[in-house]
Assembly symmetry: C2
Homo-oligomer: 463 residues x 2
């Protein structure tokens, strides 16, 4: 029997076969290689017809700019914006500044026509399911892909086990109205299938705590759901969360270290692999994008307690009486205007605000010795606001039981959660990153609907 | 401004920082390093108390066997199975055959007690949310993690873009009864939130086709849902699917190539990184496990058409009249007994069965020139049955329209899908891997409920 060697986890290896399985090459790869006679397949982005020779830009999604094709005016007549084509020809150095190589076409086949007599490019972009054919839509997808890779690489390096927390859950988050319920299609009795009421998860945290109680370091990366009725640029009915849970940490410091490192390493990965797309967003969407992304990986994030943050806000308020609309007294929630001031104006860098008053936070956060605050944090980003929330979890049975009763929880329904503190309870903590908000940070875009391929929000669920 | 170098995708790099962010080390890492004075944190798996010295096994989920601790009988008195502990001591070479190093304990702290006067290990394992503390439960999670890594590494290497197809969809799969519907918790009107009926996805394929029509090579890896009422060892209400969609392939051959390579590379990654866990399953669950996994990566998968498969089955039937319960005439579905014979007995290796009769397959599969079959395949594994299904998609507007009418589809609801064939239609195909079934293949376990952390099926949705 042919046995494989067992590789050690810390021995960094390249698992890749590096062998391309598909024979046809992407435009991105063709532009990097030294092939001369090539076939290009993609969609026509634009055609410029001139008397002698014509130009067309062909894109297959593998890069931002696609490839410039030079073709006879006769061939160019066959091309329309949006058409799917196959071009044969030779790759030659380009005299233009926009690209290093271009394709001199000697053969052309239209694979799928696109009637632009009636449909302009703008019209095509307005069709939801074609928006990924545009620069913004496709650049978002490449950055989304890279950000996902960066996060997963980080947790793999740090010996976290990926787990899949369930989407269907029997917890309704204590009757909060923003939960979706699930039932079979052909029944009026929603309890019929599972013999109980079942909901879509709003967070994988409690389930990830189960897994961390056996595997020590775990993360889950999946969709979560909120029946959020308000129309804002920050809320979706379905969005993606990265949630990490870590056993055997004793206080917030290592949790902040991991959070900071995970965001920074992901940012580095996006900077390293999506340069062209970031340049595009930097030029057209947010001129400060590259500068603030580089700053966020070059310098440590700021750390301050909620109490210090309140002090900063009060000083700003006393200098300028009309600065804030909402109160800045100890015990009050930090509003968007406060978070904005702290992250954008005061720190101008990502900032952790830690140790909020217990009364502002959920039951599971670990009580601090001061009796007033809990061991938790929010990570605020300049221009975005909160993108990460995390905390130490209350691991002491009696204290948690007390807090659950105080929060008027259904003790029977959550007995399993309390029981995790009975059978070998471990000190632990964790955090959740809102993936679409992180993508706003990476693109400069302002609405979360632009950074998810098929957004769902109140009143909207196409396809 | 400090600019990063743009790395090329085909230039294979190690994105890892390799720097450990958390100060405490996992047992897996400790056993590989040369540290002598160490701290170990984990859960007690077993304690053997003897007169002079005692032994305990401590596990933190990072490996199968944990670490053996040698301690005074006085210290051992403090330990119970399931307790969460912190041990300080020195790592010394072990005289035992089971491990190369063991921990000589000189300090001990119980972080979380576990009362085993009332609770045996068997009792703890019977508690659903503690089953990951056992060998099987934790080995499954490590293999699940490695299989997920292997799949993602493969698609990254092959220049696929990860996309997230939506979970909430307006398609009810033409009224099939096995769909869950979704509604806000506090309403009796299920159409209230989205202004239409919304369901949980049964497959991301149609949505992935949108993305492939812009990005060429895409994959999605997420949960899908079936309100499947029958209790079988192969069905869950919530399970994970890897779905890939590829533009610019013209026939089945390259699709089979990608499918085969993705399964083989994932298998290699699991073999390379989970040796200890596979040995465990090979010893206790399925003694042919390692042999068949190695064979499946050393030799190509078999490929036969449905028509050839029917011929094979008919010959087997004519040799032994009672071999099959269900008919083996051309046009009839392949039943489990047929699939089992083909994969386990006839091929004894993964086998692709291709080009099924059109009438047996969904509307979107591409019609073959023979007018009777479609360009599709199922991948059957010995002992498991189907784990992958895929096809070329019908990219011709008129042909697809015809097929949709024949299938009595709601044309208005699926107009967007038809329109993908109007605005630059590309030849394309794709496939979906049932992730839990793949994990049965990697573990030798027989029930999909054992390979997902928190299984949901009819009548069961705990936590």
């Amino acid at each position: 029997m042919n046995r494989f060697n067992i590789l050690k986890l810390t021995q960094k290896v390249n698992y890749s076969t590096a062998k391309s399985i598909l024979r046809n090459k992407t435009i991105k790869t063709l532009l990097k290689e030294d092939s001369t006679n090539v076939a290009v397949r993609g969609w026509v982005r634009s055609v410029r017809k001139q008397k002698q020779i014509s130009f067309a830009t062909i894109n297959d999604g593998s890069n931002l700019k696609g490839i410039q094709a030079i073709l006879s005016s006769e061939d160019a007549e066959k091309l329309t914006t949006g058409a799917c084509v196959e071009l044969h020809g030779s790759l030659i150095p380009s005299p233009g500044r926009e690209q290093t190589k271009e394709l001199k076409v000697d053969g052309l086949k239209v694979l799928g026509e696109c009637d632009v007599k009636r449909h302009t490019t703008e019209f095509l972009r307005s069709i939801g399911h074609l928006r990924m054919r545009g620069n913004t839509g496709s650049a978002v997808l490449r950055i989304r892909n890279a950000a996902s890779e960066g996060l997963r690489d980080f947790f793999r390096d740090q010996e976290f086990i990926m787990t899949n927390t369930p989407i269907l859950t029997s917890h309704d988050c204590e009757g909060g109205g923003e939960v979706f319920k699930v039932s079979p299609i052909d029944t009026t009795n929603p309890q019929e299938f599972f013999k109980k009421s079942v909901y879509l998860t709003v967070s994988g945290q409690l389930h990830a705590e189960i897994t961390a109680s056996a595997m020590s370091r775990v993360y889950t990366f999946g969709p979560v759901f909120r029946a959020e009725e308000s129309l804002t640029s920050r809320h979706l009915a379905e969005f993606w969360m990265l949630e990490a849970e870590i056993a055997f940490i004793d206080d917030l410091a290592p949790l902040l270290d991991v959070t900071e490192a995970s965001v920074q390493q992901t940012t580095r990965h996006v900077l390293e692999t999506c340069g062209e797309d970031l340049d595009f967003f930097n030029q057209w969407v947010d001129k400060s994008l590259l500068e603030r992304l580089h700053k966020s990986v070059d310098k440590p994030f700021i750390r301050m307690t909620y109490t210090e943050a309140i002090d900063v806000l009060q000083k700003a308020q006393s200098r300028d009486k009309t600065k804030f609309q909402f109160p800045t007294i100890w015990g009050s929630s930090l509003q968007s205007e406060h978070e904005r001031y702290l992250a954008s104006d005061y720190c101008s860098q990502p900032v952790f605000v830690t140790d909020y008053p217990s009364e502002l936070k959920p039951f599971y956060m670990r009580a601090n010795p001061d009796g007033k605050t809990v061991g938790c944090f929010d990570l605020l980003l300049p221009g975005i606001g909160e993108i990460v929330g995390g905390s130490m979890r209350e691991e002491r049975y009696k204290v948690l039981e007390q807090k659950m009763k105080h929060a008027k929880m259904n003790m029977e329904e959550y007995q399993w959660y309390l029981d995790l503190r009975k059978y070998g309870s471990a000190p632990h903590g964790g955090y959740g990153i809102g993936f679409e908000r992180l993508l706003l940070w990476f693109t400069g875009l302002e609405n979360v609907r632009e950074v998810i391929p098929m957004p769902r929000w109140v009143g909207n669920c196409k396809y």
